[in-house]
């Protein structure tokens, strides 16, 4: 046998495995070795197809879970091998995910219901105060009732915004401002033409921040309505809300301004004696914020407060 034929025999016998070591180099044995190699190639092709199929099955289940289609299950074989382990683990994770999703959805529905009921209760109190205000002959006393009615209304609107929104724990403050202004317009039905302008960035605030902010806006808007446009037939109230960054820290800035008559000289919010402004001062303190007041061609109250505050530790 020449050198080249010997190399061919060596290579094929090596591929066929140890059983062919030192075998007689005849065409009969060569054919046997080739049959063995062919059989192994076939088996490996089948294994490869089987592996790809199982991987695809598992991938399809993961894709379904990503879409929250949690009914899908990966097939588990009888051998308990790594693929079966993968499939079992994924199936079990799917079951746990389904159970968590169901309980989470139940909680969201329950929370929405709670916000709905709180809003309804506040609305009832607000309506009662308005009805009583209508029955009181004394204008000053009636005005006190109306002020409180609007304060409660501003809180009710936070709960309304929450149960109508997708995110049950946070209020989209731009949406809330729209609703609050709509409500305020309805509350002040006088002959003057008061225009509202809102410039608000779409930020989500927690309820414990949104409520004091809503109350502050309510007080300042009420203040403008009551005193800013005395002797005038028209006016403008502007609301601005946005986030700013200063020295690496985030702040929210809320501004309520009007183009009215401005504040009296030597005005000090802490000595003003008005309940509404005292309330504003307390609420700003609660937010950990600061107040900037400008009285030039009208009045501007700006409240700056940190965007990351824990109200009730």
């Amino acid at each position: 046998m020449d050198k080249k034929s010997n190399r061919v025999y060596d290579k094929i016998f090596r591929l066929a495995g140890d059983a062919f070591n030192g075998h007689e180099r005849t065409p009969k044995h060569l054919l046997r070795a080739l049959n063995k190699v062919e059989g192994e190639l076939k088996r490996s092709r089948i294994n490869h197809i089987e592996t790809t199929k199982r991987i695809n099955n598992i991938l399809k289940v993961i894709e379904a879970y990503a879409r929250l289609d949690l009914q899908k299950k990966a097939p588990v074989g009888r051998s308990g091998n790594h693929f079966d382990a993968l499939a079992t683990g994924i199936n079990m994770l799917g079951e746990e995910l389904q159970s968590s999703t169901v309980s989470l959805n139940e909680k969201v529905v329950l929370l929405k219901e709670v916000h709905h009921r709180v809003k309804n209760n506040l609305q009832i109190i607000s309506s009662l105060l308005r009805l009583q205000a209508d029955q009181i002959g004394d204008k000053k006393l009636a005005s006190i009732f109306c002020d409180n009615q609007r304060r409660i209304q501003s809180m009710a609107l936070v709960h309304e915004t929450l149960y109508r929104s997708k995110n049950i724990s946070k209020v989209n403050f731009a949406n809330y401002l729209e609703i609050l202004v709509r409500s305020a317009k309805g509350a002040y039905t006088d002959v003057r033409k008061i225009q509202f302008q809102i410039e608000a960035e779409s930020h989500e605030l927690r309820i414990d921040i949104a409520i004091p902010c809503g109350l502050i806006i309510n007080e300042l808007v009420t203040n403008s309505f009551k005193y800013a446009f005395n002797g005038r037939t028209k006016g403008k109230i502007q609301l601005k809300f946005g986030r700013e960054v200063s020295k690496g820290k985030g702040f929210y800035k809320l501004t309520v301004s009007d183009n009215g008559v401005g504040l009296p000289k030597n005005f000090n919010i802490n000595n003003s004696g008005a309940l509404g402004l005292q309330l504003v001062s307390l609420l700003i303190e609660q937010l950990g914020g600061k107040l900037l007041v400008k009285s030039n061609n009208g009045t501007s109250f700006s409240i700056v407060f940190p965007s990351m505050i824990i109200m009730y530790p």
Partner: protein
């Protein structure tokens, strides 16, 4: 496997008995698919075999195929009296290891639980920590 003369309870999926050390042993059948019914049957078997004596439990999951969520929640014993003092789980295949690890995380039982691949070590852990020896 249980010794000849000891009391053995056979359910659809489990074989349960009390060994000479006072450890309650339970073995799942090959390719067992455990449902809530099987899990409840097993709890009842463990209680009967130990005469409600609250023994430690050695669960042999080496041949398990799957266990559904209801059964896992039942074995987690969150809303019932455990009836056992500890669980040692015996695992072998990759599949049984995945299931065992679920019991260490997501479906953690309310009693001390540990995973083993060696039966001797599992028995040693249970005997050392959960079997009370009588004073001489």
């Amino acid at each position: 496997m249980p010794k000849d003369k000891c009391k053995i309870i056979y359910t659809a999926i489990f074989t349960t008995w009390l060994d000479e050390f006072g450890i309650c042993r339970t073995v799942v059948k090959t390719n067992a698919v455990i449902t809530l019914k099987d899990a409840q049957e097993n709890t009842s078997a463990v209680n009967r075999i130990s005469d409600n004596g609250c023994p430690p439990l050695l669960v042999d999951l080496r041949e398990i195929k799957s266990i559904n969520k209801d059964a896992r929640d039942h074995f987690a014993m969150r809303d019932r009296k455990p009836g056992i003092t500890a669980i040692a789980m015996l695992l072998k295949s990759p599949l049984s290891k995945v299931i065992g690890n679920f019991f260490l995380g997501i479906n953690m039982p309310s009693v001390p639980t540990k995973l083993f691949t060696s039966e001797e070590r599992a028995i040693e852990w249970l005997r050392k920590n959960f079997i009370k020896t009588r004073p001489a």
